[in-house]
Every structure is written in C-alpha cells, then in structure tokens.
C-alpha cells in the first residue's frame, strides 16, 4: 500500500461546502440553483456519521462530495473538502482517480443497478484492489471471500463466480458492501443501502453492515431518510433540510432529546392516531380466490378470503413478491381469478373487467405508488382530473372545471393548479392529484397500492391524514397495499398479512397486532426498525434465542 499523508486531524473535514446545479424549468431559461448552502462536516477516523433528511435535503449530494463527485452535472462550487488533510474539491481528475476507490468507496441504494450486468461479481469486487495496485489478485480474492463470509453471504467461496442477476437484491447489497470494503478504504459512503430492501431483509443487511464497519474500523457516512435505521449504526447524526444543517448531535441526543422543531417532527412522524372501527357487513367480499399469470404453472394467489366493510380500511401487508399487487389486479378484473368469487356491494363482480358495467368500474378506483408514471406528462392537472368526470358523469365545460376545482380544494391544493403539468408539481402534490382523480369517480372503494412508499415521511404523513379525512367525509373504503407496518398501524381497521400468495394472518387490527403471533408475522413485525439505541442488537439476540428468522432474506 502506498503511503497516505499521515496527520492527526480528522479523516474528513468539509468547511462551508456550496453545491450548485443548473435547472431547466419548462418554458423558462435555465437557471442556477444552490443545492447545498455552506455545510460543515467533520468525521474522525473509525466513526460513523449519519446524514438524514427528506429528498432534496442534499444528503446524497454531500455524501458524494466526500469523493469530490457531482452526480448529473452537479457542481461543487465553494468551500473546502479535506480528506486525510488534503484539499480534494479542486483536485484534478487524475488526482481524484487516485483517491476514489482507494481512500473513499461508495455503496449505493440500488446494488442491482450498480453492478455491471456482464461481469462476474468477483471481478467487480476486486477491481479497485488491482487498478490501484493495493494488493495482488490472489490476496484480493482471499480478502473478498473473507468479507463475503463476514457479511453472511451464502457459499462465500463461490458466490463471486456468479453474475449480478443470479443473486438476490439483499445479497447484492452485501456484495456491494464487500466491494466497498475490499480495498481497505479509510471512508465508506453508504447511500441508503437498505432502503430498497424488504423490511425482513433490511434487518440482516443492516446487521451485516454494522458488524463489518466495527470489525474493519472503517469510518462511514451513512445516508438515509429513516431515522430509526441510522440510529442503529451511527455515532453522530446530522439532520439536513433544503441543503442546510438543521441539527448535529450524538445519536442518543438526536432521537431522545432533539433540539430543533424539524428534528422533533422527524422523530415523532407517524403520529396519526386512528381508532379502529367495529366489524360490519362487507362491501367487498373475496372468497377462496386463486389466480396465476398466463403461461406460468404456479398460483400467485392461493385461496384468498377477505372482507372489507364500507367506510373502513383493510391493509394488505407483505414483502415484495407476496402477491399484494396481484390481489389488486384480481379485484379490478385485470387478472381474472382461476377459482373463487368476488362480491361487491352484495352483487357478484364479473371476473374480467371487460364484463363489468361502467358503473361497476366507477365504484372501484386505483391509486398507484409512482404518481409520476400514473399521469400523462403532457396533460394538465385539469385534464387529468376532468377525464373521469367526462367519462363517468358526462360533465363538460364550466361544470367540469367547477367540479375539478372542488376536488382540488378537497385535496387541499387550492387555486392555480388547474393549468399546471405534472412536471411542475412536487412528489406529494402529484400523489394528491392522483387521489383527486380517483375521488372524481365517486367510488365506494379505492385500492391504494403503496401510495406513500415513494414519498418522504412527512409528506407521506400528510397524504395519510388526507386519506383518513376523505374517508370520514365520503365513507369510502380503502384496500391499502403496503410493506410499511408503521403506515398500517396508522390507518388500518383490518389487516391481512400476505406471504408467498397466502393470507397468513387476517382480522381486526387490534387482533392481528396482538400476540401470540405466527412465526412469519412475528418476523415481519419485529423487523421494523424502532427509534431506540440498541434495538438492532436486542432483536438479533432475541432471534438467536428463539430461532425465529433463521435464513430470512436469503
């Protein structure tokens, strides 16, 4: 290993960092926007600093600045970035190439997209060790295998021979961590490394990352929007908002004694208190529904029976691949079930949507996870919300515009949005427009498919509150598909826990969330990070004793 400048100061010291980008608003000349306004960061050797904030807070941008890297045309325009005592903000590309991958490495949110699909994992993991001449090929491979084992990957000796598509998402995230640690860096930037994973997988990856950080003594910047997650790994936490520092403190201080209002809001997020409604005669009744996709040989839904009374919320929870969204497709008639019956409002529904009347279609509306792709980018908000008004009620002209404005008022967006395009709206506003579009049909049931998953916690909270208010006003029922148990606690009356196409647990919220649990529900519930120090260790210790969750996530 070539000598690095030795000094006694901090490993990373960022002073007065200013980061700018050029934005291209539609119909206007390009303009300069400042993403980060003079932020200071100090990180000592071997310490972990959590950077937390909502999207647009500048946390990834600041994290990448420790590698003097601006993603997508972002420019580091001011301040000092000292790594191992050396200024790197103004360093030449050639000098930066010597630092990147050697002194600082990076773990991204989506390992699946961050691995080259046409190269074997081992070649990618040891690439920096060879290109920076840190160690020989055989040493690097041996180190990689050691790291694979430490990170709990199955068959550590041979997993490196695989290609990225042959390994699961949770495993890839661990391989990427091994790739970051392999060249023995001083600093690793973890950019939302567990956000894209299922909650049951997240806990294992989180534990593996924490252990690897501890054992290798590497320093880390841990970027996330989830305070409960960062509380498990960080020594200190910096809260960011709109590219400015809100608060910096020890993990204990931030989660137990936050000084700023914004931090308090983050800590107490999901404060919605929703009283469970009593059981009642069902609006939607699903009986023994089994379904499979054409051309496949296994059932993605197995004998599902659930009920949803009018004006109530049934939360369907489960991991990716558990069949939650397929259930929505079966109810809407996009995927006709091979067996079973769906009854709506006392009448049987035709299994495929072409067999349903326009009024049947109107009664069941959907809201999707990605509001972006659920709207035509070339239509205005007025056209988007007006379309169901024309289609179902024949409203036109002034009457239609009046109703659109009423709906916009209902979703608390007010005037001035009717002529805007989706690209001019924020993520939360887009989702509100999608809600208004569903509302326009005056449905009795809205299927919400992960509607808050792509949103920041505070914005998501606003959407959930809006949905609950609308339910109280209009007595709509919600079938709420989500993987987020905090959301479920906040809004559900009834809960169905799905696993591998089956309903594992079903009933009133108070019953489902009360022990005794079946093994899967226990695993799912206990995997949700809680905002307290030492939660991760406590859960893992509990699992070691009870044997629950062995091999989960692989």
């Amino acid at each position: 290993m070539s000598a690095k400048p030795t000094q006694s100061g901090p490993l990373l010291e960022i002073r007065g960092l200013v980061i700018e980008a050029t934005s291209y608003p539609p119909g206007e000349p390009p303009k300069n926007v400042t993403l980060v306004h003079g932020v200071d960061v100090t990180l000592q050797k071997g310490k972990v600093l959590g950077l937390i904030g909502e999207s647009g807070a500048g946390k990834s941008t600041i994290g990448l600045s420790s590698m003097s890297y601006g993603r997508g045309g972002v420019r580091l325009t001011g301040g000092e970035i000292l790594l191992n005592g050396r200024e790197i903000r103004t360093a030449s590309p050639g000098q930066l190439r010597k630092i990147r991958g050697k002194e600082v490495t990076y773990v991204s949110q989506s390992a699946a997209a961050s691995f080259n699909p046409s190269k074997r994992l081992m070649d990618q993991v040891i690439e920096t060790c060879l290109s920076h001449k840190i160690m020989s090929k055989s040493e690097a491979e041996a180190r990689a295998v050691t790291l694979f084992r430490k990170l709990g990957l199955p068959s550590p000796e041979t997993i490196g021979n695989r290609y990225p598509h042959q390994v699961s998402g949770g495993q890839l995230q661990r391989v990427m961590t091994a790739m970051a640690l392999c060249p023995k860096p001083d600093l690793v930037v973890f950019d939302e490394p567990t956000t894209a994973l299922d909650v049951t997988t997240q806990i294992d990856v989180l534990a593996a990352i924490k252990e690897a950080i501890r054992d290798t003594g590497v320093a880390a910047l841990y970027i996330t929007h989830d305070l409960a997650v960062v509380a498990q790994v960080a020594d200190e936490i910096m809260v960011l908002r709109h590219g400015r520092k809100v608060e910096l403190g020890t993990t204990d201080q931030i989660i137990n004694r936050p000084a700023e209002d914004y931090t308090r809001a983050l800590v107490s997020v999901r404060s919605i208190d929703h009283a469970e409604k009593p059981e009642a005669a069902p609006l939607l009744k699903i009986e023994n529904v089994t379904a499979r996709y054409s051309g496949t040989t296994f059932d993605v839904l197995k004998n599902i029976s659930i009920e949803l009374p009018p004006g109530q919320t049934l939360a369907v929870v489960g991991e990716s691949g558990s069949g939650k969204s397929t259930l929505a497709r079966a109810i809407t008639g996009l995927l006709p079930p091979s067996k079973g019956r769906i009854t709506f409002d006392g009448r049987p529904l035709s299994s495929a949507f072409p067999g349903r009347s326009r009024d049947d279609l109107r009664q069941i509306q959907m809201i999707y996870q990605m509001a972006d792709t659920a709207m035509n980018p070339r239509q205005t908000v007025g056209t988007i919300i007006g379309r169901p008004l024309e289609f179902y009620f024949g409203l036109r002209g002034v009457a239609r515009d009046k109703r659109v404005q009423e709906l916009l008022d209902q979703i608390e967006m007010g005037k001035g949005f009717i002529d805007r395009y989706p690209a001019e709206l924020s993520g939360g506003q887009k989702q509100r427009v999608c809600i208004a579009r569903a509302l326009a049909a005056k449905p009795k049931l809205i299927i919400c498919d992960e509607v808050t998953s792509a949103l920041d916690p505070l914005v998501a909270d606003g959407i959930l509150k809006l949905l609950l208010e609308l339910q109280a006003e209009t007595q709509m029922a919600y079938l709420f598909i989500t993987h987020d148990l905090a959301t479920v606690r906040a809004i559900a009356d009834k809960i169905a826990v799905m696993y591998k196409g089956e309903v594992r647990r079903y009933g009133q919220k108070s019953d489902v969330l009360a022990p005794p649990f079946d093994d899967y529900t226990d695993l799912l519930l206990s995997s949700v990070p809680e905002m307290e120090l030492g939660w991760l260790e406590a859960v893992l210790e509990h699992r070691r004793q009870t044997g629950i969750g062995a091999g989960a996530g692989n």
Binding site: L96, P117, K119, S131
Partner: protein, 318 residues
Amino acid sequence: MHPILKLLVQRIALGLLLLLAVSAVIFLGVEALPGDTAQAILGQSATPQALENLRAQMGLDQPALTRYFSWLGGVMTGDLGKALTNGVDIAQAIGQRLGNTLFLAGCAAAIAVPLALILGAVAARYAGRWPDKVISAVTLTTISLPEFVAAYFVIYLLTIVFPVFQPVAIVFPGMSFWAKLQAVALPVIVLVMVVLAHMMRMTRAAILNVMQSAYIETAELKGLSPMTIIWKHAFPNAIAPVISVVAINLAYLVVGVVVVEVVFSYNALGQYLVDHVTKRDLPVVQAVGLIFATVYIGLNIIADVTAIIANPRLRHPK
C-alpha cells in the same frame, strides 16, 4: 438442453426455412419474367417448332413445380446448372469469383469493423467535444460520397498524386497472398470509407446510452480511467445493437459492391451477376441470387446468436 444451444438450433432451423422461401421467391420472380430461357437463346425470330424442341430438350415443358424441385435438388447437390450464354458450369464459374468477393469483403471488414469500434468509443469518450465532431464529420463525408466518386478520388490520390498503388485490382489464381492484398488495397480503402460511418455512429450511440447507467457511476467512483470505463464496463453492455449493424454492413460488403468492382475491374460476383443480367442468363441470375440470400441470412443468424451469447442473463441462467 442448454438454452443457448436450443436458441442456436432454433435460429439455424429458421434460417434454413427462410432460405427455402427465398429460393421459391427467386424462382417465381424469374418465372414471372416475359419469355423463357428457350426464347432467350433462340431470339425473337425463332420458329414455334424450334422453340418447342428446345423446351422439350431443356425440360422447360414440365410444370413449374417440377422444374422448381429439380432446380432445388440440383442446388442441394452443388449442381447450379450451366450458363446459357457460354455453357460453362455455373458452380465452377461462381467458385472462383465468390472467393474473390469474400477476399475483398474480408479485407475491408478486417479494417472497417475494428476501426469503427475504436472511433465510436473515442467519439463517445469525447462526446460533444472536438474529437467527436471531427470523427463524425469525416465519416459522414465519406458515407455521403457516391462510391464511384470516392473510388475515382482514391485512384487520383493514390495512383497519380502519390503513386503507391496500381489503379486496377486484377487478381488471378496462383498470386501470392501479399500480392493479392496489394492489388485490392484501393477498393478496400473505398469500401472502408463507405461502411465506416454507420457502424461508428451505432457504436457511439450504444455506448453513450449505456454511459447513463448506475454501474458506470460505480466505475467512476472506483477511480477508473475514462477509457477503461468505456472498454470494460460500457462496451460489453452496448454490443448487441452494434452487432446487428455490423452484420448489415458485412452483408453489404459481399452483395452490394458491384460499382466498386467495376471501377477497379475486379473480377468478382457482382460483376458476374450484372453481366448475366444484361444477357438474360436466367440460371446464373437464380444461382447468384440464392448465394446472396444465403450470405444475408447467414450473417444475420450469426449476428443474432452473437448478441444472445453476449447477454449474460441468457448465457448464465439463474
């Protein structure tokens, strides 16, 4: 069976089926022309009796289907029939010329394909900057020139201004490999100029497309050099669209270069075909048409299969 092997068998079977269909189309096309071979031999002033005799002698009085299958049977066994104009065995006449065609196309491809890939990668590396603009401008200029203009320009430059080559590309059996190479130098240069731009631009576009991927950012954050990133991380994932364009251009080098052959008096398949089309020598036209179709279909099968093999998801299933 390994999925790749299965795909390979499928593609080849499909290719053979396609070739059979093409042979029928060629036969029908020639059949649809007014007059027939007997008429062509005896001319407009032939008596009906003479025509009938000749037709009977050549088997032309048989139904079309019978004649098609007897022609097809001949093709299968390597018998392409005899040329009408001089009675020479077609297979023999083609053999020599096909060799010359493949030699010229091979030489041009051996230079043009690697050059296009390298220039495409360089253009992608410096996208929007001057090396990119120079490469684009030069290759676009060469592709925009008609082949004969390019050919005369090259002849003027390299035989008159700088007399390093001879202006005609005459090859004959028994010539040494190096002498042959020297003889075809000028047509090769012209062909490279003609096919370079298309392949280069596809390489550039495909690489730039891949450069948007998250794994390229990973490579940048590993501190790899820009050219390493392009060759090791971008190019292997950009190869599929490039291969199909390369195949089209290779096919063109075999079947579409008659103008260049004529300009340089190069004795190859294109000239042979044109000669016999003007003389209405239908058996020759049929035979050469079938060979060109085989080249096209064959190259496209190879391109398909290569693109499939280049995809690790198919090469290494879960």
